[in-house]
């Protein structure tokens, strides 16, 4: 109350010393809050980098631990020699070692599943999942955004679509996982090409004359397709929102000019809107997909397995379409799930540390660098596109 009194006396009076101190304290509290958040992030990223970097670097040329990126995940063996020296070896090296030195004394032999070798399996799996997710989600997402931004008129339909997009964005990732398990994995609505349909599971199977194969509606099982599509469903709201934003940024004048020149609606969109929105659409979508691809919960029961000896295309049977179908219905390793397996499912042991920090660091590096590149690119596009 006293404030209002003084103000009414002289509105241009400089604020009192006390008010200045109060201001200073208040503002610095807000500043401290901000920097606390940033510090947390820096500490987490820094710690993982510090412990993870040594795993993927080597002291001699080519300075990068290529084995870590090119070997498949396998069991890690740990033992002591007669002199008491501790040795850790991947399983293939261990077998070679035993064959070449059958007399070697091995004490305290311990094995750790999935903790040895490299991460080519999880890397490839994640990559393929993201490809499936990206193709589906970009296709549906961009089309939906074009409809919402270019065609739709205000009405019930538009409201319903917007409401469901908004609600989809809030659905927990694990619920997407459950949905994926019930819909893509277990329900028999999804067909595969195969020579040997699983008659018990299959709804029906179309014989594909003249080959002796079938298009069998038996569900995809835990597979690349099921996992990728679950991720795509999850990425959809993010992508639609991102695309709409980019489409909105294209000035109305472009459309009006194009329509006035006699272009059809589709010509207008194709030539006057999409080319200018495309960079924004792509960067924003990549950002959204990166975020979704980092999720573990949706692929836990739709695609991911803890260990696999072969890459998807090595394991696929048959030829042509059958080979492709078999490859896409393989279960895969995935980097985030691999991290979960080596940290959450195995009993903790110092022997696992290299694999744990190595995979986490690689994963974080991938995700952060893709995100950073798209943020930078987006900023640049925004700057360039001034109309």
């Amino acid at each position: 109350m006293s404030d209002s009194k003084t103000i009414s006396k002289n509105p241009f009076r400089a604020s009192s010393q006390r008010q200045k101190v109060k201001d200073g304290v208040g503002i610095s509290i807000f500043a401290i809050f901000t920097y606390v958040i940033l510090t947390c992030a820096v500490v987490i990223i820094g710690k993982i980098t510090l412990d993870g970097l040594p795993v993927i670097l080597k002291s001699e040329a080519p300075f990068i631990n290529t084995e870590f990126f090119t070997k498949k995940t396998m069991t890690l063996n740990q033992f002591y020699t007669e002199e008491g020296e501790m040795i850790r070896m991947d399983h293939d090296d261990f077998i070679d070692f035993k064959n070449s030195n059958p007399e070697a004394v091995i004490k305290d032999h311990k094995t750790f599943s999935y903790a040895g070798g490299g991460i080519i399996g999880p890397l490839v799996g994640t990559f393929m999942l993201v490809i499936v997710c990206m193709i589906t989600a970009l296709f549906i997402g961009i089309s939906a955004a074009i409809y919402l931004n270019e065609y739709a008129r205000k009405g019930k339909m538009l409201n319903a679509v917007r409401l469901s997009i908004m609600n989809l964005a809030g659905v927990p990732s694990i619920v997407y996982g459950l949905f994926g398990a019930a819909f893509f994995v277990h329900s028999p609505f999804f067909p595969i090409f195969t020579n040997t349909p699983d008659w018990e599971k299959a709804l029906f199977a179309l014989p594909l004359w003249p080959t002796d194969g079938y298009l069998s509606f038996q569900g995809w099982g835990e597979s690349l397709l099921a996992g990728g599509l679950t991720l795509a469903v999850m990425a959809l709201p993010v992508i639609i929102a991102a695309c709409e934003e980019s489409l909105k940024a294209v000035p109305k004048g472009f459309r009006e000019a194009s329509l006035a020149l006699g272009a059809t609606k589709w010509q207008c969109i194709r030539t006057a809107v999409l080319p200018y929105a495309a960079p924004g659409i792509l960067t924003a979508s990549v950002l959204g997909i990166t975020r979704v691809a980092g999720e573990t919960a949706p692929i836990m029961f739709t695609a991911a397995v803890a260990g696999k000896d072969k890459l998807p295309w090595e394991d696929a049977q048959g030829t042509g379409l059958y080979w492709f179908s078999d490859m896409m219905t393989q279960s895969v390793q995935a980097l985030p799930y691999h991290i979960y397996v080596v940290t959450g499912k195995l009993p903790d042991d110092p022997a696992l540390k290299e694999m744990q920090f190595g995979s986490v660091f690689v994963f974080l590096l991938l995700v952060i660098s893709i995100a950073m590149i798209s943020v930078i690119l987006r900023a640049r596009f925004r700057k360039n596109l001034k109309w």
Binding site: F33, I37, I140, Y147, V161, P172, F183, A297
Partner: protein, 626 residues
Amino acid sequence: MAKHFQRQGRRILGLDKQSWIKGFFGGNAGISIVVLFLICFFLMLEAFRFFPSHHEGLQVYRKSGQEYVGHLMEQADGYQEFVSFTNQAYFAEYDARYTKERGIKDSWDALLGEIEDEGEDLAEVLEDARDEEDEAAIAEAEGAYRTFLKDLTASVSRQSIDSFGRLEGHDDTWEKLLLAAQTYDPVEEETPDFVAEAIQVQKEGMHSFTEAKGEIAAAGTELKDLRSKLVAITAKIAEDAEAGQSARARKEALLAGATKMEGEDKAAALEEAEKIVIQDEFPFGERVQPLEEAKEAHRQAVAKMRTKLAVGIAKLPAQLESDKAAQLIAQIKNGQERFLDNVDRSLEKAQDWEFDKDVGFFESVAKFFFGRDWITNSSWTNVYGLLPLLTGSVVISCIALFFAVPLSIGAAIYVNRLATLREQNLIKPSIEMIQAIPSIVLGFFGIMVLGQHLQDWSQAAWVPEFLQIKDRLNAFNAGLLLALMAVPTIFTLCEDALNNVPRAYTEASLALGASKLQTVTRVIVPTAISGILAAVLLGLGRVIGETMVVLLVAGNRISMPDWGQGLGLMMQPTHTMTGIIAQEMPEVGEGTLHYRALFLVGLVLFSISLSINITAQRIIKRLGNV
């Protein structure tokens, strides 16, 4: 007029090209509605099928008498806890009081073991010599045995003999032991005086405690016997009942299958179906007769346990040297009353049990939503109760929001209104970058780094006792990490809300002489409050649905939080709805009761996040986002 510019294209199914294109895009937009619908449909499809099977399971649980035995088991388990606490206290006290004496006894036993192992042959020679009463041979054998003992005592390692280090600081006693060992006679097998004395001292000193311990251990023998007897009976009943049911199912399947078959197959199937004998109604009433008869014995066993337990606990010594023992005994004494109350209650429930009382359908539904236990993979019976998981989720979300809300709102205000342009350009993308950190990485950080550090820090002197962390993985640890996950969500939405406050408001406030801070706290924040509220709600939605962090870090112990501990319950390990789905889903078979229970949990989670979302949208709409 517009017609003039339009080219007429080919029509397909009465629609021209433009309409087809529009329809195509519209169809893709409609997919989001379809997806939302499908998610609801598939969740409900599995989840709602949970209730009938759950109800049926509970019926069998009651009819077979397992329900009765369940109450009995509860009592016996509670009692067993007292026994194990007493044992722990006993040994803690023993160790504290008679470290040296135990050291002497154990070391002597270990030494003897070593001597007898290594000197077996020599001892036999000596014994033979004595039997034959050949003086020269005896002297020789004794001499050999002495040298052997000397060598052995010289070479023996103290760590391996005194493995608990109880004789540390008693070097003279150790020497005494070695000396005594050197004069040990394998035939006479005498225990040296000081060792015998040490044993005697222990025995006398622990006498009263030993007695109390014995009393407590004896209190529940009858209850335990009754329990194992009845468990066997009811398990058999349940098994037989299930066998009857599966026989019926098999017969029905065979008969149904036979209608599709022809000729010999049909005859064979029919014949097989004929062989399966089905009892019309499983005779539960007859089979559970032993349980009805055991009711009286049960009452008596409980009464006996009550009195004996009270006697035993009263006998527990009050003067204790070990802090741990004192703590345990205090726990025993404190828990006594509550335990006895529980015993009375479950006794009453057990006595009320009747095999033919119907389990209401709504009772079974309520058992899921208000059940305080979630027990799966148990050899006895699976229990599905949502409450511990729901409270776990809520506790963790509260912790997360407690940290995330002030931090992110503060940061949003700072960046939006107070920071310099350069700071803004640095901070905004950085916080966006935090959002890009995958949750599994945060969980990993919690399990590998943060957990240990938090535990170490909580041991500091200034931390009150109830906040000290006993388990590395707990709700607090998970809450902190989830706070970091919620920050970008809340920050971004808050910033949007602040951005939407018209410039004129700020200008007017400043022109009236308000300071920067006053403008922010009294004009801008109140104007944007609806947006901020919505941001917090959406942050809550994000936190409650987060999976990997809680799965890795929250400790995954399914129990109701101990409200008696006040804020200390933050430091307990807990389990969450998301965590349980992620943990158990990969292990259950499709279509089982367990599988459906997990879907039901998922449906609850889905409804919670959906309602949070809708509320947030309402708030924005109602209060108007300025």
